[in-house]
Amino acid sequence: MPKSDESPLVLETRGITKRFDHIIANNNISIKLRKGEIIAVLGENGAGKSTLMNILFGLYKPTSGSILIDGLPVSFDSPRDAIAKGLGMVHQHFMLVPTLTVTQNIVLGKEPVRLGHVLYKRARRSVVELSKRYGLTVNPDARLEDLSVGLQQRVEILKALYRNARVLILDEPTAVLTPGEVEELFAVLRNLAADGTSIIIITHKLEEVKALSDRVYILRRGELVGECRTASASAAELANFMVGRDVVLAVERPAPRPKPEPIFSLESLFVHSSRGLPALKGVDLAVGRGEILGIAGVEGNGQKELCEVIAGLITPDSGKILFKGEDVSRWSVRRRMDAGMGYVPQDRRVSGLVLPFSVEENLALGRSDRPPLSRHGFMKFAALRAQALQLMENYDIRTSGPEARVSTLSGGNQQKIILAREFSRNPDFLLISQPTRGLDVGAIEYVYRRILELKERGVAILLISMELEELFALADRIAVLHGGQVVFESPTATTNEAQIGEYMIRGRYERSIS
């Protein structure tokens, strides 16, 4: 039930901006939280939700802007300060000690002590009282590792309440829970709110926002793009806000070829994730020469596995990956690359670059063992340098020189290094994942132009992106990946962002949304 606007403000941010070297993670964000209110901060991965929460919790210092608690400005140097002011945070990954009991975990760091001796009985008593008061039933003597994930989360909440939290921040609280546990959690949170605790939940799941929150703030690319009462907004409206409706970058997209000759396809591909769960459940896709097929989807719906299986880092359980008519699903990474497949990975710092290496060394990755870069196993540094200078020129990589460490470069220049390396191999097929994440507008425009150039040259491109604008700007066709399956596929011209957004979030499309 929505709280009236008369409830006193507990927490407020005014114009919070957080800048990391080249990225603005939060731009001028102002939110308000009233006593006993539940607000949701909604946004895609990378929208800046976690940064905002880390600022609230004292883990980061904002570049500018202020935080007010009970109307008074505060400054947090560490989570300790935030806790002292009545903030409690339940992280996505719990901060608990598995071998200790529930009571020990809850009081850890704030134990009742007399003469250096922990008063376990008194601690246990306060834990029992606390769990009774809020209806958070949990056995105080159970060892944490014996508890289910849902109960562990409950311990985290109790931990915050034990520290007198008046504001509870939950980061993706349902990511690890079963549907039953989600219901229980929601009941608990509603109880807490009725009792006067204010709650912020961070999420990208629309259903949760609808089910739980009074108000919702929507973040996109570090900016606050919307705020509304949950009751007055439809799921479709929220989805549009979240993924963005207007195309910021209008690039001239060459018309798709009438009948592209198919060169790359997946046939009922099944893959399991590193945790052993099914991640791709029978994916069929085909890309033709000179065509860009966009893959839309909320992160965590099989994109990672799709990339890895196409790049050759993992092998499928069943199904085929056909490239130029051959099944490459058992080929090594190297063999695929040599055959003309390229891969621009999503996380350039983790899988794209060797950060301590120089620009020229990074540009040599994957071709260091053959002429001209080496001969009989000996590196030819002059050739390395020449290649680097040429690629830096062709791809507008701005550095102090080919010897500069890539860890010192901006995200845009790092991405250009990867593009230069992959594009200059002259591939026939390219898998590109999240090519513009964390880049500024100038760099994004550049990356788009380069991708379209490749398309013109007849390269088949599979573009995976969480950004709908990007897909609509570049792709000839768009397929939606949801729960490891392609639930929808359509030429870009005959679909729209609302429809794709609906498929992304629900896996289905209904004209009238309740």
Binding site: V333, V350, G352, E361, L365, S368, D369, S374, G377, M379
Partner: protein, 423 residues
């Protein structure tokens, strides 16, 4: 403003520098201390060549960089010695006379022992560093050292071939044995992900336990000798050449193993920095995911890195047998494999740095024994100093933090002073 000097002058400088450096090193290692003058001349000529090559501005910045890189180790060693002195003073020993004996013993009187101590350490340090560059922790170098000793002794016993053929063959077999010892850890690592720290260390104990059997089979008889048992002597034809063969003033035990070790350090540097294999090893060491994504076979690189590492550790053992011991002792108590870890850490896995850290360890060991004999200051104090040096080096991040705080203060002070002066 720099004027590029004619090429010919630079070539002469370079050649002269090398011509002076090689005998300088040889003489100094053989306790002909005037070799240091040749070395200093060589360094001066090298510096002159750099100066002509890059001009004064770049030369200045290079020199500063070199100096600033030396500050931390030098300060670390200095502070460790200082702390050691305090401990000596507290426990009732005279730090001045003890350190006098330490350095006289380690650097002058028993310098040859320092060099002998350093020789196997250079090899095992290189072994650890080589694996570490690929992101692997070959903590079982001790076992590979033992297998090198066993292989060299086995080949050397009753060898009738001339040394010029037999010695390289023995080194080759020892290297292969050391590499082979790592085969199972490599397979386990690649196939199951079992960590090499555990598996290589297990093998170290296995080999160590096997060694008495080998000794018993090749002459070791506890009934005949009061010594801890040893094998028979290996054929004299496979002993490494001695320094005194060409420098009569050198100590009779000093063998050319140290030259092989220094050569190995440069070879390792060459492999790591100039070959495709080294490039790939470093790429995997820094970021295996990116390397894999670019089609580098991480399994193959893991194998290459640990094979070469094992070979280097085994060559350390072979050098010790062929050069110094000429037989195998049971319970070598050498710990060269374990100490190689400290050596590599101290040198931050820089192959050339390993030469110097090994010599430092060698000096501290040899000097410490001399100190204990002449001043009755217990040798244990040197172990403490070594520990403190290691600790201070690894705590480098503390200096960096302190340095940046100090820099900020200094900066504030400067701006304040400037403001004051302007006002």
């Amino acid at each position: 403003m720099s004027v590029s000097a004619p090429r010919r002058i630079r070539m002469v400088l370079k050649a002269l520098s090398l011509i002076l450096a090689v005998p300088g090193v040889l003489l100094y290692l053989a306790s002909y201390f005037w070799g240091a003058w040749l070395l200093l001349c060589a360094i001066a000529l090298y510096a002159a060549d750099r100066f002509l090559a890059v001009g004064s501005a770049v030369f200045g910045s290079e020199a500063r960089k070199l100096l600033s890189r030396a500050i931390v180790p030098v300060a670390g060693i200095g502070s460790a010695l200082l702390i050691g002195a305090v401990i000596m003073a507290i426990t009732g020993y005279n730090p001045i006379s003890s350190y006098g004996a330490l350095f006289y013993g380690g650097l002058v009187r028993n310098w040859h022992i320092s060099v002998l101590n350093a020789t196997p350490l250079i090899f095992t340090g290189l072994a650890i560093a080589f694996a570490f560059q690929g992101g692997f922790f070959n903590i079982g170098a001790e076992g590979q050292y033992y297998i090198g000793v066993i292989a060299a002794t086995w080949m050397g016993l009753g060898s009738t071939l001339p040394g010029i053929i037999a010695i390289p063959a023995i080194f080759a077999v020892a290297a292969i044995a050391g590499a082979a010892l790592n085969a199972i850890p490599i397979i386990l690592k690649v196939k199951t992900g079992a960590h090499e720290v555990v598996t290589t260390m297990m093998f170290a104990y296995v080999v160590r336990t096997l060694s008495p059997m080998f000794i018993r089979a090749h002459g070791g008889d506890p009934a005949l000798t009061s010594h801890p048992y040893t094998t028979d002597l290996i054929s004299e034809s496979v002993w490494l050449p001695m320094f005194k063969d060409f420098l009569p003033g050198a100590n009779y035990r000093l063998h050319i193993g140290v030259l092989l070790a220094i050569g190995a350090a440069f070879l390792v540097r060459f492999i790591l920095m100039k070959t495709d294999l080294g490039y790939k090893i470093r790429a995997v060491g820094h970021n295996p995911v990116a390397a894999m994504t670019q089609g580098i076979s991480v399994a193959r690189i893991t194998a290459a890195s640990l094979f070469i590492s094992g070979s280097l550790a085994a060559i350390a053992g072979a050098t010790q047998v062929l050069g110094l011991d000429h037989r195998m002792f049971q319970d070598l108590n050498a710990g060269y494999g374990w100490n190689g870890i400290s050596i590599a850490l101290l040198a931050r896995n820089n192959p050339i740095g390993i030469i110097f850290t090994s010599l430092l360890w060698g000096v501290l060991d040899a000097g410490g024994q001399y100190m204990a004999r002449t001043t009755q200051t217990p040798n244990a104090i040197i172990e403490i100093v070594k520990g403190i040096i290691l600790f201070l080096m690894l705590a480098e991040v503390i200096y960096k933090r302190a340095g940046s705080v100090f820099g900020r203060w200094a900066g504030r002070f400067k701006t304040a002073a400037r403001k004051g002066a302007g006002a």
